[in-house]
Symmetry: none
Subunit: 221 residues, 2 copies
DNA sequence: CTTTTTTTGTCATTTAATAGTCACATAAAA
DNA sequence: TTTTATGTGACTATTAAATGACAAAAAAAG
């Protein structure tokens, strides 16, 4: 994990370098915005940017960085006036710390942003009163949790990812079974049936999966 | 930690409720600004406020909230026009996310503001009759101390830090072994089994770890 | 440095949950 | 009414998880 510090105050820059190296990060130092942009390359995972820079302003630097890639940028600034902060977010800064900052807070924020950039983000689908958590495979219907086996989960996921579309049987087969060839056409029917039963148990008053005769299935409007 | 959601769109409101509950927060839901103001009391630690509400506008709601107390307010809004946002900050909103928002970002911001409001999270985790001290690595179950080897401790810690969530096998692998690749898939099963045995010895009448078939594990509700 | 103890990982077997198949019932189109 | 497709309960096969036993590795003790 490599962090680029762009900060014109030498002592703060060095202090940050020491702090970050001590916590296992690779560190590159720049003492002006333009220098920072020169150093910036694929090896950098996160930028720590001071706002008050000689030459190009912090705002310009952020814009340049974000033009090139979607690196997380944490802004450090003595300005805690709200309007300033706002503009930074609008430009694409991912977070800010106000000077003088707490080292642990800074480290925590760095960690969060590196993790975010590295990990797929959490995704939650919803349809009517069904909530489907793609990260943890949890399914909630009518605020009750249902436990769905893998194939039933994948079926429901496929339907919910294509809310307004009819999914053909071979569509569904290729999504859930990695093949459009069906061993037994009935397999799908059975799974849909089981899924419907479980949903009905949670909410008897609602219909979810609609049969499109001789084509496939879709979620009811 | 209790969060009040004020959002008129039912499905977004419910999705947020799910997300936040899953991350250990208490949640109260309001579907209009006036309802939100009625629910608002001392138990609430943070307000998540949609801007576009029927009846009273978001701006009015913020003013009302801030008149009563200094609760952190995070505004959610589809409007990313700058001037709008500026006014919100002027009114006292503490942060904002634009819709559609990234769940992890929202969680991170909530955490930051709760921390700022000095509602620090403790270094001692508890679940049912298990107490886990992250500082001293002591584990107590049913008032008896258990000594857990490193991997078992980390497993239990991971589960307890994500009380309501299903942790996938690869989640757990990356937490305990620093890799999501498992040499032998059974390794995890064995450790879970050992952990369960030790917990059962302390309290034979309680079940703690639940298996989510073909996905992973989580703590029983 | 060697021995002992503890922890960790692997294997084989048992146990449990899920997936798939069949037979027949039901419903829709022709 | 006939044909064709879908729905569903019961059964079997398949796959995943739990666990006792053991070996390897690491840590602690001597």
């Amino acid at each position: 994990m490599s962090i680029l510090i762009i900060e014109d105050d030498t002592s703060i820059n060095n202090m940050l370098e020491y702090l970050l190296k001590n916590h296992g990060y690779e560190v590159k130092q720049a003492f002006s915005g333009t220098e920072g942009l020169l150093i910036l390359d694929d090896s950098i995972d996160l930028v720590l940017l001071d706002l008050m820079l000689p030459g190009k302003t912090g705002e310009e630097i952020i814009r340049e960085i974000k033009k090139r890639s979607n690196l997380p940028v944490i802004v450090m600034s003595a300005i805690d006036a709200m309007d300033k902060k706002l503009n930074l977010f609008a430009l694409g800064a991912d977070d800010y710390v106000t000077k003088p900052f707490n080292n642990d807070e800074l480290l925590a924020r760095i960690k969060v942003h590196l993790k975010k950039a590295n990990k797929e983000e959490s995704k939650i689908l919803s349809y009517k009163d069904i909530i489907l958590d793609l990260n943890t495979y949890q399914v909630t219907c009518n605020k009750q949790e249902i436990s769905l086996p893998k194939h039933e989960f994948l079926l429901l996921k496929a339907l919910m990812e294509n809310k307004n579309q009819v999914l053909t049987k071979s569509n569904l087969f290729s999504i859930v079974w990695d093949t459009s060839e069906s061993a037994d056409d009935n397999t799908l029917n059975v799974h849909i049936s089981k899924l419907r039963n479980k949903l009905k148990e949670c909410n008897p008053n609602e219909e979810y999966i609609e049969t499109i005769w001789s084509i496939g299935y879709r979620l009811k409007k």
